[in-house]
């Protein structure tokens, strides 16, 4: 019986396999081929306008001694850390607020998620105008509050916090929506029991709400981490990786190498290393997500 069904399964598979070919073909063309080609380019010295030459792992060896690349890894991690933690904390807090009933809650929620709908390049241009040290509205507002002006994206010390501020404004609503979904799905019985047991609001949040929404918070962390790692448009428009190299993330450096200096081979090696870095981080986050699942 088992042998018979297996044979049937094989026939079934043979009959239906052709239906998977188009998907396999497209996957191969848009995912597998570009990756193989990137790997191929990364082992070549290839500058646009010059002949290509095989250099083995030279590009990778060069990366190890490239100060700007190493600095860009640090900048990427710093930017990512702030761009994940702050929106997640603020988004979770906002979700808790918007989960409560109050007048005009729907309207407030709609207004709150508006930034998320804006195009990153467009909002970056608007923020850049607002950041202008002499003519920007932000320094004018600071002066009204009796605070000294800030140099925003034009200072080595404040450029990353400034860029993170834009990220927080842009993406906190996304985190809020994800966590709000978790709160809506959370059962109400544990709260009733806790109230009967005399738990205070903090205890209910710490021991009931937080564990219940944790899978959603981790999901938000995963999405935000991926977004922050690949952030390019906002940084490029506002600071172009400057002043100097103060906000030069891996993406910006990679872009410069590929499309400003036309070092396609070297840029491909950066892509490969960056990809490995992202895979490692994704594995850690997925492991955390497994651990955070409701049991």
């Amino acid at each position: 019986m088992t042998a018979k069904s297996t044979a049937m399964d094989r026939g079934y598979g043979r009959n239906y396999l052709p239906f998977a070919y188009p998907a396999l073909l497209i996957t191969g063309a848009v995912i597998v081929f570009p990756w193989l080609f990137t790997l191929f380019m990364s082992v070549h010295e290839w500058k646009i306008g010059s002949p290509r030459a095989f250099v083995g792992l030279n590009n990778y060896a060069r990366l190890a001694g490239d100060e700007r690349f190493i600095e860009s890894i640090g900048t990427t991690l710093y930017f990512t850390l702030l761009s994940v933690v702050l929106p997640v904390v603020l988004g979770t807090a906002c979700a808790l607020i918007f989960n409560e009933r109050f007048p005009l809650r729907g309207l407030c929620r709609a207004i709150f998620i508006l930034p998320m709908m804006a195009t990153p390049v467009a909002i970056a241009l608007v923020w850049k105008m607002m950041f202008h040290p002499q003519l920007g509205v932000l320094n004018y507002l600071l002066s009204l509050a009796g605070l000294p002006p800030s140099l925003w994206h034009t200072s080595l010390d404040t450029v990353i916090p400034t860029l993170v501020m834009v990220e927080v404004w842009h993406w906190t609503p996304l985190v809020m929506l994800i966590v709000l979904g978790g709160l809506a799905a959370a059962p109400t019985e544990p709260y009733e029991s806790a109230r009967l047991d005399g738990a205070n609001p903090w205890q209910m949040f710490r021991y009931i709400t937080l564990p219940l929404i944790m899978p959603f918070v981790v999901l938000a962390v995963v999405i935000r981490t991926i977004d922050a790692l690949k952030a390019f448009d906002t940084i490029f428009v506002i600071s172009e990786g400057g002043p100097g190299t103060a906000s030069e993330t891996i993406n910006i450096y990679l872009y410069l190498q590929a499309f400003a200096f036309y070092n396609i081979g070297y840029a491909s090696a950066i892509v490969v290393v960056f990809f490995v870095l992202i895979i490692l981080m994704a594995m850690v986050l997925l492991w955390l997500r497994q651990k955070a699942k409701w049991s």
Binding site: Q134, P149, L151, E240, P243, G244, F259, F261
Partner: protein, 449 residues
């Protein structure tokens, strides 16, 4: 016998018919006659359509505004695309490298793209086309082009892959009102620039003596402008060796650091030309160094608070020389274009006397022809003050390339730009220039090998 006077013969009918057809066709014949002189005919490629890719800016505006005139003249349809400078340069390289660019005609920044485009032979050599009387309008007047423009359009191997379109010398804009308030005359030397900047700066009132580009990459021409005053090119044109750690180069970096660190508004480290222009146009900056083509918004009352108060000054005398760092662009035909002749007609029209006159009058550029500067009618129609024109002419007379003619120009600007930005933050100029030189020297050696 029939009366010959009244007889309506077949011959008469043909004559009348031919006459009527001639009368009806006269306008069209006249139009063709106007377009055709000798063996040249503007309408020769009528019905074709070409794609034009231009860098966003006043030169592109000038061409696009009058594009219909070209179509009326030639019967060639034009699809033109305008892309911001940085993106345009990348798009061009990627399309050329693909072997199948989507455009027939494109604008070329000589100071960035000349060597790369020349080395890769991505553009058509204009010389055979210019020599072809069937394709070049008799009134194109090639000798009218300035020697400097022609030299810049010509590659080291003798090919000329663009027609000269515009030269952009750098000069100093200054606020006459602020200078008058302090009883200052415009500086005659580099030393006097520093002294004037110091006297003009009143940080408590939000007034600063100086502003220039501080953003990496964009800031390099400011430094090279000072370097030329020391009679030093960033790269020796003969030996192709870096001269970026010479005494002149270091002194130029020190001057750049001093002006931007002590007398420029806070945040100048992140300024490109547009931020510097915005700050200057608000009336609280004494001097701004940049290209002469940025003048029109300063004289536009909807954009500027200093209309009529702007002074246009030629770069002052440096310790060893007096030069204006000069940049420029041309217009060329993609080597892969299948409509070379039609594209060539567009390039001719774009650099014709009429279009050059318009470019000069708008103040959006300085054409590479001599005639617009000599024409009283053109000068009478100038939208900017005469002082601007005098400054342009005097600056062009002392023009010298502001960037080295090498393939990796963008990398050069990036590496040295980072160093210059660091100096505004307080870093030692000599150490930064040495570091940048060490980083860039292998790149240069490889590219020019």
């Amino acid at each position: 016998m029939k009366d010959r006077k009244t007889r309506f013969s077949r011959r008469t009918a043909l004559k009348i018919g031919a006459g009527a057809a001639g009368v009806l066709a006269a306008p069209a014949i006249m139009k063709v006659a106007r377009a055709q002189t000798g063996g040249f005919n503007w309408k020769k490629f009528q019905g074709q359509s070409i794609e034009v890719s231009l860098t966003l800016g006043p030169r592109a505006n000038n061409l696009r505004t009058h594009e219909k005139e070209f179509t009326e003249l030639t019967g060639i349809k034009v699809g033109s695309e305008v892309v911001p400078e940085q993106q345009h340069r990348q798009q061009q390289v990627i399309q050329f490298n693909s072997g199948n660019p989507q455009f027939d005609v494109t604008s070329v920044s000589w100071h960035v793209q000349k060597r790369l485009f020349g080395k890769s032979k991505w553009l058509v050599d204009m010389k055979p086309l210019l020599a072809d009387s069937q394709l070049t309008a008799p009134d194109y007047d090639w000798p009218d082009f300035t020697a400097g423009g022609v030299r810049w359009a010509t590659q080291a191997d003798g090919r000329m892959d663009t027609l000269p379109n515009n030269i952009d010398p750098w000069m100093i804009y200054y606020n006459k009102e602020l200078f008058a308030a302090k009883g200052l005359a415009f500086p005659r030397t580099f030393e006097e620039i520093v002294m004037a900047a110091e006297k003009l700066t009143d940080k408590s009132a939000g007034i600063y003596g100086w502003v220039s580009r501080g953003l990496k990459n964009a800031n390099v021409p400011v430094w090279t402008s000072f370097m030329l005053g020391h009679d030093v090119d960033p790269v020796d044109p003969t030996t192709v060796k870096l001269q970026t750690t010479t005494d002149g180069a270091i002194a130029a970096a020190e001057l750049y650091k001093k002006l931007n660190r002590e007398y420029a508004p806070p945040g100048t480290v992140g300024f490109n030309w547009n931020e510097a222009q915005t700050s200057f146009s608000q009336g609280k900056i004494g001097m701004w160094i940049d290209g002469i083509g940025f003048a029109p918004p300063l004289e536009d009352p909807t954009k500027s608070r200093i209309v009529g108060k702007v002074g246009y000054a030629v770069m002052p005398q440096g310790p060893k020389a007096r030069h204006s760092a000069t940049f420029g662009d041309g217009i060329g035909i993609a080597a892969g274009s299948k409509k070379r002749e039609a594209a060539y007609l567009y390039c001719q029209w774009a650099t014709s006397k009429v279009m050059c006159n318009r470019l000069l009058q708008s103040g959006g550029g300085s054409p590479c022809r001599a005639s617009p500067y000599k024409s009283p009618e053109v000068i009478a129609g100038l939208k900017l003050p005469r002082e601007w024109l005098s400054c342009l002419e005097a600056s062009s007379a002392i023009g010298r390339p502001g960037l080295p003619e090498i393939v990796p120009v963008t990398e050069f600007r990036d590496v040295f730009g980072v160093g210059l930005t660091n100096t505004i933050g307080g870093a030692d100029a000599r150490a930064e220039m040495q570091k940048a030189t060490d980083a860039f020297a292998p790149v240069l050696a490889k590219s020019e090998a």
